[in-house]
Symmetry: C2
Subunit: 81 residues, 2 copies
């Protein structure tokens, strides 16, 4: 099964990379862009018997490896068969 996981900086944490992208957008004529925050996306192939088991593995891996819980949040977007 395939899990799709988002890892994003917590709202209170500054995102200089996103700021730089937003500045670049403005400088290149995309004035409608008011702000950007960048996060990470993980597509995880999991061998699991059902969706609940796959979700469990995805949550464990996200919490322990993919996200830094001090400054980042993770969300399991969806589990695909």
């Amino acid at each position: 099964m395939k899990a799709l996981v988002h890892v994003t900086l917590k709202a209170d944490v500054l995102d200089p990379q996103g700021k730089a992208i937003a500045h670049a957008c403005a400088a290149l004529g995309h004035g409608a862009v008011e702000g950007v925050r960048q996060g990470k996306l993980f597509e995880i192939e999991i061998s699991a018997p059902d969706e609940a088991a796959a979700r469990g593995v995805a949550a464990e891996v996200s919490e322990k490896l993919l996200a830094n819980p001090v400054i980042e949040d993770y969300a399991i977007l969806r589990i695909e068969p």
Copy 2:
């Protein structure tokens, strides 16, 4: 409005970062993880009158700035008010 954009490597392009993460998962006891591919996630704040306009800006910015169309695909996941 807020646009959520995924940028992922095309399926044919090798992802050494994802491979390294998958190896780390296995080494740390998460044997159920068979593979990982890493991508990027962008939350873009756009000043636009409606969803269609916001989608247009998001597509333009994604195509010209956020994704490298030679090796990456982008997808506009959703537009939020």
